[in-house]
């Protein structure tokens, strides 16, 4: 888990540099600060469980095991990217890793997650679906529609709300009439739990328990992980609506040094090992960036590829 978190952070720092250099375009929403949530939650899944994210999905795809090379190449808009350059930062997808996508429309993926859950249930297997969402998304109609149906049919879905307290610039207190999001689930008879999203071990523990519960067929759950994104909403947002003091306070709770410290104290690792991990992550990211840069851009002829499947089913 430590390696995952370090890799996520390095990956995004690398991506931010490439964005500043104009190598990556469009919107890019960084996850720096929230690493413990994706890491703790997704590592609680089996390899063939499904996961879906929002437009802030670099971390989720990485933890799910997608190759950093193919993800970076996607950011660079290259043919070797996980979506052949067609999706970009907001739309990572890796069918092989059962990572069913990043979505640019707030809340739009929640019914899709419920549908995956329905599919698992109807196919009679015990695989679960984990869907991430933001605090802002919990005000969308589809959030409520999805939770209701997921419970109505007891679908195997773990909803993980990453409450970073802001939906772009709007504070959760100004957007949610009732802002204890885990309790919103209770209105649908769904158990809701709150967890410290800056503590990867706490997230992992809570998610393991919930995944077990869901896998037994007891219906959906919602976990609210309270966390913070250090940067603005996206690369084009300076985040001026938040105070410096507030951001500093959260940075003191950084999940990466926190885990390092407890591992060192427990004598599980030494500083040398931590340095190795950091170096390895660095090398992986540099390799991914070089790979992306050297990869070809998509061929013009691919513009019309994949709009439809070629055979019409006849």
């Amino acid at each position: 888990m430590y390696e995952d978190m370090v890799l996520i952070r390095r990956f995004e720092e690398g991506a931010a540099e490439a964005y500043a250099d104009g190598l990556i375009g469009g919107f890019m929403h960084l996850y720096i600060g929230q690493e413990a949530v994706a890491t703790g939650a997704i590592t609680a899944l089996n390899h063939d469980d499904y996961a879906l994210g929002t437009y802030r999905v670099h971390a989720h795809a990485l933890v799910r095991g997608s190759s950093p090379r193919s993800l970076m190449a996607e950011l660079y808009g290259r043919a070797t990217g996980c979506c052949k350059g067609k999706g970009g930062s907001m739309h990572f997808f890796d069918a092989e890793k059962y990572f069913m996508g990043g979505y640019g429309i707030v809340g739009g993926h929640l019914p899709i997650a419920a549908g995956l859950g329905l599919s698992m249930q109807m196919q009679g297997n015990d695989r679960v679906v984990m869907a991430f969402l933001g605090d802002g998304a919990s005000n969308q109609g589809v959030f409520h529609e999805s939770l209701n149906m997921a419970k109505l049919w007891d679908l195997p879905v773990v909803f993980v709300c990453e409450n970073n307290f802001y939906g772009i610039g709007t504070d959760v207190r100004n957007s949610s009439a009732f802002n204890e999001i885990h309790k919103k689930a209770q209105g649908y008879g769904i158990p809701g739990h709150v967890v410290n999203g800056m503590d990867v071990l706490a997230v992992r523990e809570a998610c393991e328990e919930m995944v077990r519960h869901v896998r037994q067929g007891s219906g959906p759950v919602l976990i609210e992980a309270r966390c913070y994104r250090y940067g603005g909403h996206s690369m084009t947002d300076a985040g001026k609506y938040r105070s410096v003091a507030e951001a500093e306070l959260w940075k003191k709770r950084d999940p990466i040094p926190r885990l390092a410290k407890s591992m060192l104290e427990a004598g599980i690792v030494d500083q040398e090992r931590l340095d190795q991990i950091a170096e390895k992550a660095n090398a992986t990211v540099i390799d991914a960036m070089m790979y992306a840069e050297e990869s070809p851009v998509p061929d013009a002829s691919s513009l019309y590829d994949d709009v439809y499947v070629e055979n019409h089913g006849a």
């Binding site: 375009g25 469009g26 919107f27 996607e74 808009g77 290259r78 043919a79 979506c83 350059g85 067609k86 999706g87 970009g88 907001m90 739309h91 979505y103 640019g104 429309i105 707030v106 809340g107 739009g108 802002g136 998304a137 005000n139 969308q140 109609g141 589809v142 939906g167 772009i168 610039g169 709007t170 100004n174 957007s175 949610s176 609506y241 851009v297 998509p298 013009a300 691919s302 513009l303 019309y304 709009v307």
Partner: protein, 324 residues
């Protein structure tokens, strides 16, 4: 005349209308404290307070439905959808409710409401963030569709929109927010359904709106060096549509190109092309040409996006196809 930017034009029009009429209020995501994702509502909360400039949750269907409810009962809401991509979440409210109410209820209610939304691609935001789907709404009776291309047009048309008794979909192009243009100091309004000739010419008529007006003007520059004088017409409002100005121009030039950023298949260009052929079939020297986006979800990769979306060069090519 002073120059202002397109996003400042929104600020100016709304501030003037809110000052004039107490019933006008603004609602939408991040419109207040943040001042709007595109700075279009910046300063309004400071001037008019949080009662009249309301930050909403991310709940587009509710934003539009609430605007409708308040418009039915004495207020004049200006709802912002941030970008039209998210308006799709509110499609039921816009199409099933807003655009049908007046007719369906036998004219007993009017909906004096404006829905503002940014449209357009060209900045690598990929398929879910690059919509130019004005055709969908022109295809729907009961809602007006306004597509200003300059700060001047924006101010005049937005003020008219706020005063209109009909529901208005007011589409601002993302790629134009930073663009500048002159506007007079004194207050002015622009009527709906009046196209503007952005550049006169005798050899071909190019009809374009929103950001494509600027591409068409660039194309006209290039063509002019080849000795081809293109007339560029901006309808400014797609519903109501000033078909007379367009037909009048094509009757003179006898050639027409329609340039739009939306998808080609069954788009606004198809409609305009059909109208021109209905009226001017025997006057035309050549088939009407359409320049539009490729019929694919807008791709992320820069080179593919460029291939998918129309630009000045595409307009030039279309003109050359029917003038050489």
């Amino acid at each position: 005349m002073p120059e202002i930017r397109y996003f400042e034009a929104v600020q100016r029009a709304l501030a003037e209308e809110m000052t004039r009429d107490e019933r006008v209020y603004v609602l939408g995501e991040d419109v207040g404290l943040v001042g709007g994702t595109f700075r279009a509502t910046e300063g309004l909360m400071a001037e008019f307070g949080a009662r009249r400039v309301r930050d909403t949750p991310i709940a587009e269907a509710a934003i539009i439905g609430m605007a409708m409810g308040s418009a039915m009962s004495g207020l004049r809401p200006v709802a912002e959808l941030m970008t039209l991509n998210f308006g799709i979440v509110a499609m039921d409210q816009i199409i099933n409710h807003v655009s049908k109410a007046r007719y369906m209820f036998g004219g007993q209610v009017s909906l004096p409401m404006v829905i503002r939304a940014a449209v357009g691609g060209g900045t690598q935001k990929s398929a879910q963030h690059s919509h130019s789907v004005e055709s969908w709404f022109v295809n729907t009776p009961g809602i007006r569709v306004i597509v200003p291309s300059t700060p001047y047009d924006l101010v005049g048309l937005l003020k008219t929109s706020v005063r209109s008794e009909d529901p208005i979909l007011f589409l601002e192009h993302e790629g134009l927010y930073g663009s500048r243009g002159e506007i007079p100091e004194e207050e002015y309004l622009l009527p709906f359904g009046v196209a503007e000739v952005k550049r006169p010419g005798r050899d071909v008529t190019i009809v374009a709106w929103s950001k494509m007006v600027h591409e068409a003007l660039k194309a006209a520059e290039i063509l002019s060096r080849e000795g081809i004088e293109a007339e560029v017409i901006d309808p400014r409002t797609l519903d109501p549509l000033d078909i007379d100005t367009i037909l009048g121009s094509v009757a003179r030039t006898r050639r027409a190109v329609i340039a739009e950023e939306g998808w080609r298949n069954v788009g606004m260009g198809a409609e305009l092309s059909s109208r021109i052929q209905e009226h001017l079939f025997y006057e035309l020297e050549a088939p009407v040409q359409r320049v539009a986006a490729a019929d694919v979800p807008t791709p992320y990769a820069k080179n593919l996006e460029k291939l998918a979306l129309p630009d000045a060069q595409r307009v030039v090519d279309a003109v050359l196809k029917i003038t050489l």
